[in-house]
């Protein structure tokens, strides 16, 4: 075992033990002994069940209060950005599934949007609606997962079963849509892989009728639960100014009252054609962020319903740019040109122009962005992933100081971190 001292930052070495002297103005100060207190170091993780994967935090404690928290990350680092430089643009799509493995659809979506911006491709209207529908289904799944696990971590077990029961319906729906429940790879550059079948549409409509009363069910378990309220209200408070300065995004930023949502400000996909509101909190605490996520599930139901109603019944699901986008799968086996197109795109990729773009997408955790530098040719020269989980961990020390050890669990949870995305 390595001694703990070696793993710590040297910058804080001198603060480790503090000698507390009795106030000299105290009448009996000369007779009282000097109290010597020492800060305790506690390693939390990397195998702690509530750290959502492999996150380690070194907590410096004074009694049970956190004086300083140093996150130690990288246990799940797989060098995804390096791998991206070695493959073609199409080949990177399955890698994005493994970033935030709970919500793979969003990563696919954010990546494909970035490449489309690089290649200047316009996606057909029906595909835009399909993408919006699936992205919002994924947002519901993400929030259900968050709600279940966060409540479980804090000590309210019941809601976990309810949230996961309903999440299962949507995962089965994904299974029918693309053949996988988690690692979906359904989005393609320029469109989507396959269309909704009548059975899928029917199932989704049934879910939209079924789901809103279930949200009320989740809420009943929590909003009247004294433990939940005591452990979320006023915990992990961050002011709007600090939240912006730290670069937080998504519900974590909106909980502090900052109205910033890329779905509104960038107006991509079918979002400008849907009516929905962006819930914004007031106090910047864990409870407000919880409230926002619950409201977002309701808004997602509205968005999906509108998309299903407005979506053109017929239409292409893939942009027709043969040099970049894939041919329809059924034609690959029957048509020689399509087969050559598919083969060339997967073996050599397409020739991207020189240049660089940044494209951010509002995932359910926050702004998931891709910064792509192209030096021409079929592979990205540099691909940087702006992962919300990683950036949220930057604020962990600031947000946890002064709270109890047990609140550290609440604070990881409130960011909705997934280490696959954090460590990349």
């Amino acid at each position: 075992m390595q001694p703990i001292e070696d793993q710590r930052s040297n910058a804080y070495e001198d603060q480790r033990s503090t000698v507390y002297k009795v106030d000299p103005a105290h009448p009996e100060s000369s007779t009282l002994p000097t109290l010597r207190t020492e800060e305790l170091l506690l390693n939390m993780g990397p195998q702690h069940p509530s750290t959502h994967g492999v996150l380690k935090v070194i907590l410096e404690l004074e009694g049970e209060r956190i004086v300083k928290a140093t996150p130690v990350m990288g246990f799940l680092h797989r060098g995804v950005e390096k791998l991206a430089e070695d493959g073609t643009y199409h080949q990177f799509i399955p890698h994005t599934d493994r970033l935030d493995y709970v919500c793979a659809m969003y990563n696919n979506f954010a990546y494909c949007r970035a490449v489309e911006k690089l290649m200047n491709i316009t996606v057909p209207e029906r595909a835009e609606y399909l993408r919006t529908i699936v992205a919002e289904v994924q947002r519901i799944i993400g929030h259900q997962f968050w709600l279940g696990t966060q409540a479980l971590d804090i000590g309210a077990m019941t809601v976990f079963f309810y949230a996961f029961r309903d999440r299962e319906i949507l995962l089965d729906w994904f299974d029918e849509l693309c053949g996988a429940r988690l690692t979906t790879s359904w989005y393609r550059i320029g469109g989507v892989e396959r269309d909704l079948t009548p059975s899928l549409t029917e199932k989704l409509r049934r879910f939209l009728d079924y789901f809103p009363p279930k949200i009320d069910e989740y809420v009943v378990f929590l909003e009247k639960n004294r433990i939940w309220l005591a452990r979320t209200k006023g915990v992990a408070v961050i002011s709007a100014e600090d939240a912006v300065s730290f670069g937080l995004s998504g519900p974590t930023l909106r909980g502090s009252g900052v109205d910033y949502d890329l779905r509104k400000s960038e107006a991509y996909a079918a979002y400008p054609r849907c009516e929905f509101s962006v819930p914004v909190g007031k106090n910047g605490d864990t409870y407000d962020r919880y409230w926002i996520r619950v409201q977002e599930m309701r808004e997602s139901v509205k968005i999906i319903t509108q998309c299903l109603d407005q979506m053109p019944a017929e239409g292409s699901i893939m942009a027709d740019v043969p040099s970049v986008t894939l041919p329809p799968k059924d034609r690959v086996f029957t048509n020689l040109d399509s087969m050559i197109q598919q083969f060339k795109l997967f073996s050599q990729g397409f020739d991207a122009p020189r240049g660089e773009i940044y494209c951010g997408t509002e995932a359910h955790k926050g702004e998931l962005g891709f910064y792509i530098v192209s030096a021409g040719g079929g592979k990205p020269y540099r691909l940087k992933i702006r992962a919300p989980s990683f950036i949220h961990m930057g604020a962990f020390d600031h947000m946890s100081r002064g709270y109890m050890i047990a609140d550290a669990v609440t604070i990881f949870g409130t960011y909705d971190i997934v280490m696959g995305e954090c460590d990349r």
């Binding site: 793993q7 680092h77 060098g79 950005e81 300065s245 670069g247 937080l248 773009i357």
Partner: protein, 165 residues
């Protein structure tokens, strides 16, 4: 030229190198000595008001005289505009001034750039590796001269070489 780039050129005639607008993104390159002043101006000036840091990144161009490029991306939540601020850094003096005093979020993002590309940030409060292990000594993985499979450290783990039945 984009009005923000024009303004920067007027305010920092010595530090401004070039501005590029492509696919709707504005990218301004400045000299690295003036990087902190330009960033301070972008952060504090009421017309600029870039209060939100999006990401910090780096690019390696091994054939160029000034090998590395540090990339910052800022957004203004009130003004709804964004800018990419870049500076070139030579390999011999691989250091830029940290922007952690302007945006708190720059702390972890700059640490990642240091870890992956080896660019040091002056005045950074805690410049250590963040994703790679603290005692990792094979260099900086995202540099172009770093092989994809690593430099051999990975093969020293015994469990990787076990023959499977």
């Amino acid at each position: 030229m984009h009005p923000i780039a024009q303004r920067l050129q007027r305010e920092f005639p010595g530090g401004f190198v070039k501005s590029v607008e492509w696919r709707g993104d504005l990218a301004v390159t400045v000299r690295r000595e003036t990087m902190h002043d330009v960033a301070g101006f972008l952060h504090d000036d009421p017309d600029m008001d870039f209060d939100y840091i999006v990401h910090v990144s780096s690019v390696d161009w091994p054939d160029d005289e000034e090998r590395f490029e540090v990339v910052y991306e800022f957004y203004s939540i009130r003004k709804r505009h964004r800018i990419r601020l870049k500076a070139r850094v030579p390999e011999s003096d691989c250091e830029v001034t940290s922007l952690t005093d302007l945006w708190k979020g720059a702390d972890f993002m700059e640490r990642e750039v240091y870890d992956m590309m080896g660019i040091r940030f002056r005045n950074h409060p805690d410049l250590r590796r963040i994703l790679m292990p603290d005692d990792y000594d094979e260099g900086y993985p995202l540099r172009k001269d770093f092989p994809l499979r690593g430099k051999g450290w990975r093969d020293t783990f015994e469990f990787l070489n076990e023959t499977r039945p």
